[in-house]
Symmetry: C2
Subunit: 188 residues, 2 copies
Amino acid sequence: MLDIAARLFREQGYGSVSLRKIAEAAGIKAGSIYYHFGSKDEIVAAVLDAGIRVVHENMRDAVTDLRADADGETVLRAAIRAHLRALIDVSDYTSANVRIFGQVPQSVRDANLPTRRAYEAEWDSLLSQLKKDGTLKQDVDIRRLRLMLIGTLNATLDWFDPDRGSADALSRTYADVFLNGILQRQDT
Amino acid sequence: MLDIAARLFREQGYGSVSLRKIAEAAGIKAGSIYYHFGSKDEIVAAVLDAGIRVVHENMRDAVTDLRADADGETVLRAAIRAHLRALIDVSDYTSANVRIFGQVPQSVRDANLPTRRAYEAEWDSLLSQLKKDGTLKQDVDIRRLRLMLIGTLNATLDWFDPDRGSADALSRTYADVFLNGILQRQDT
DNA sequence: ACACCTAACTAACGCCTGTTAGGGTAATAA
DNA sequence: TTATTACCCTAACAGGCGTTAGTTAGGTGT
C-alpha cells in the first residue's frame, strides 16, 4: 500500500496523486483506504519519513562498513555514493520524499522535520570529523557544504536518465568535482 | 498580472495556486482572468518562459560585460553569480520556474523546453570554451558538469534564507568548491 | 452455532477547481 | 450622438477532491 503510494508520488508529484488513484493502483476503492490510514496526510507523512530513514540507514551503513583505516576521501566518496544510490536505485520512498517535500502542506513538512534533522546531523558529524582530521580544508562551512552536497545530489532526480549512465558512475563524477574541483591544475 | 502569478507560484507552488487566488491578489474576479489569458496553462507557460529568459539574459550579460582579457576562472565565477542572483535576488519568474517546473502538466513542460534548451546551450558553449582554453580539466563531461552546476544552484531555493547570508557570498562559496574542491591540498 | 475481526464495498457529502456565457460600465473614436 | 472597444462582473457548469457512514462478505476463535 505505502509502496504503491510512494511510487505514484515519485512519478507524478503530490498534487496529481489522488486517493482514488492510489486506491485504483492498489486494486481497491478509494473509501477502503480509510481502513488503513486516517487521512491522505497520514499516508504522505509515512512515505516522507520512510524516505529519510532509508537514505539515512544506507548512508550510515556505507560509512560504517568501511575498514576502520579507510582514509577521509574514501569515507566521503562512500557517503555520496550511498545517498545517490538510495535516491536512484534503492528506494521510491527516498525519491518521493525529495520530489514532493516542497509540495505537501506545511503541517506534513513539519512532521517530517525531526527525521530530516537527524539525517542532517549525521552528515554534519561526518563532515566535521573530516575537517578535524585534515581531510577537508579548514575554511569550509560545514552547514553550507552539507546543504550544497545534498542539494546537488537531490537535484539529480530532475534529469537523471538510467539509459545514459549508472548512479555509481555519476556519484564518482560528483565526488571528483567536490573533492578536487574542475580547474586545471598548474602544478602538474 | 503575470508578476502576481509568478510571485504566488514561487511562494506556494503550482497546485496550491488557483485562478481565484491569482484573481484576488490582482484585485479582480476569477472569471475576468479569461479576458487576458485563454487558460491557466497559458499563464503558467508565460511565467515559465519569462523565468528562463530572465536568467539567460542575466547570465549572458554578466559574461559579456567582463573585460575582454578576463581569465577563464573569472568568467565562470561571473556566470555562477549571475544565475544565483537571478534565482534569489532578481526575478520571481526564474524562481517560480525552478520551483514549479516539476509540478506542471507535461504539455506545459514541453512548451517550455525550447527556451530551456537555448539557455543550456549557452552554458555548454561557455563550458566548452573554458575546456578548450585549458581553464578546465580535459576530462570533464560538459553536459554532466552543466547539469550538476545548474542543479546545485537551483537547489539553493529549497533552503536559502536571506537572513543567513547574501546570494553573492553564497555564489562565491559555490565557485570555490566547484573550481578547487574541498580537499585539503598536500602540496601547500 | 455464535460472536468477532478484518477488509473491503457503495453512496453520498460539501468543497474547490478551471472554465464559460451573458451582461454591464466607462472611456474612446467617428 | 452613436458605435466601438477594453475591462470587469455575476452566476453557473461539470468534474474532481478528501472524507464519512453504513453495509457486506469471509475468516477465526469459542
